[in-house]
Symmetry: C2
Subunit: 217 residues, 2 copies
DNA sequence: CTGCATTTTGACCAACTAGTCAAGTTTTTG
DNA sequence: CAAAAACTTGACTAGTTGGTCAAAATGCAG
């Protein structure tokens, strides 16, 4: 145990240099593409390295294990993914807040489908890498918003609806267009690519859900 | 080219015997479990063979390629999965027909979550093994039912809603409980296991969707 | 420019896994 | 019951892939 400070204990560098920043980003971007398409087991380090434009050992210099890339990617993605839910304003108009939330999620689903698929794949396979994250970050946030929704229902501003199932329905519906993109395309064909398709989707989803939870008299 | 009839051209037997029926079933059941948990690449033939209680070469005697098991399983599953949609009666009451459809899909999602996950995983990864099936069987069926729904809307029996997006929403929502089971459990905890949970889910989903598409005056 | 730290890579290895094969065992059939 | 057909498996192979290593190339501080 000599000259502790500078000694690297494993493959990862300690202080971040300019090159490190660039290369880590390069790797993560490439990895998102590949992991989201082929899943964790289906992805080879060579594929990622190729796509990132570097040799495999060089990639392993930045992320000593394949797992490391994967987990880093998932946590980065999830944090960003959760933000819109946190932004639901308890003091705002219920229908308006939920409209905003749903609209945002559909936009994210269209602009970052790979992130959605990466996450879907992980959960589908039992979330081995992120069950902690779900328990520590996702659950509390959802619980918090469930209280808000329940209050809205109590105040008669929403039809009586279970907040958890409402949230699941919003997630399911919005992410469906990213996760099941191939199926959507198989059925709707060229329409999917057309400009305005996202707006049409948003319109349809919003119409059903918002009418479904609007208070009835 | 001699004694054509009895000659086997590859590993697969030609006429089905009693033993074949038993063992194919054994293999497919085991494979569904494993594939739905680990995906195609993540599954090894040994795993399936172990679970099916036979040696790997023996398994390969019935399904000469890993792919064969996978595709057989997917097509078997999909056919069964599509039946309820085909059963929607154009002459029936719209709300009643859709209630029946949604209820059935939620039931299937609960009783065969592995099948749902197997399919979700395949589509998520671009449906390489079943894009033909989607084009040849799924699309025509959906198109057919879309016409029916559109007529219902025209007759004022449903609120104006795009039939395709309605169908996607139903799929997304009902399958969510199978595909994202881990996430649902992470958030709702022990409630998920409790008796009556499926009824509660069905109630919530039906309430939102059906009210969302009920004609408004 | 000099010397040290960081970065990069070709060559390699060990583990794993889809699929083969030949030799055996069991079942069916005439 | 004998022979053929169907079934079963241990041992093996070839290809793939996660990860190592030592040496070379590059960047950088003084």
């Amino acid at each position: 145990m000599a000259k502790a400070a500078k000694q690297k204990t494993n493959g990862g560098p300690e202080r971040t240099t300019r090159i490190q920043e660039i290369n880590r980003r390069l790797i993560l971007d490439a990895a998102l593409d590949v992991f989201s398409t082929y899943g964790f087991r289906g992805t080879t380090i060579d594929q990622i390295a190729d796509k990132a434009g570097m040799s495999k050992p060089n990639l392993l210099y930045y992320f000593p294990r394949k797992q490391n890339i994967y987990v880093t990617l998932l946590e980065e993605t999830l944090t960003e993914w959760l933000a819109p839910l946190a932004d639901i304003d308890p003091a705002g108009d219920p229908i308006e807040q939920l409209r905003k939330y749903i609209t945002l999620k559909i936009k994210m689903s269209e602009s970052h489908p790979e992130a959605s698929r990466l996450f879907a794949n992980e959960v589908l396979h039992g979330a081995p890498a992120i069950s902690d994250f779900l328990a520590k970050h996702l659950k509390p946030l959802v619980d918090e918003k469930a209280v808000v929704i329940r209050r809205w229902v109590g105040e008669g501003k929403l039809a009586p609806v279970d907040p958890y199932h409402l949230i699941f329905m919003i997630w399911a519906t919005t992410q469906h267009y990213a996760d099941f993109d191939v199926q959507v395309r198989a059925i709707m064909g060229s329409q999917v690519g057309r400009p305005g398709f996202r707006e049409q989707t948003a319109q349809a989803v919003l119409s059903i859900i918002l009418n479904g939870i609007r208070p009835r008299d």
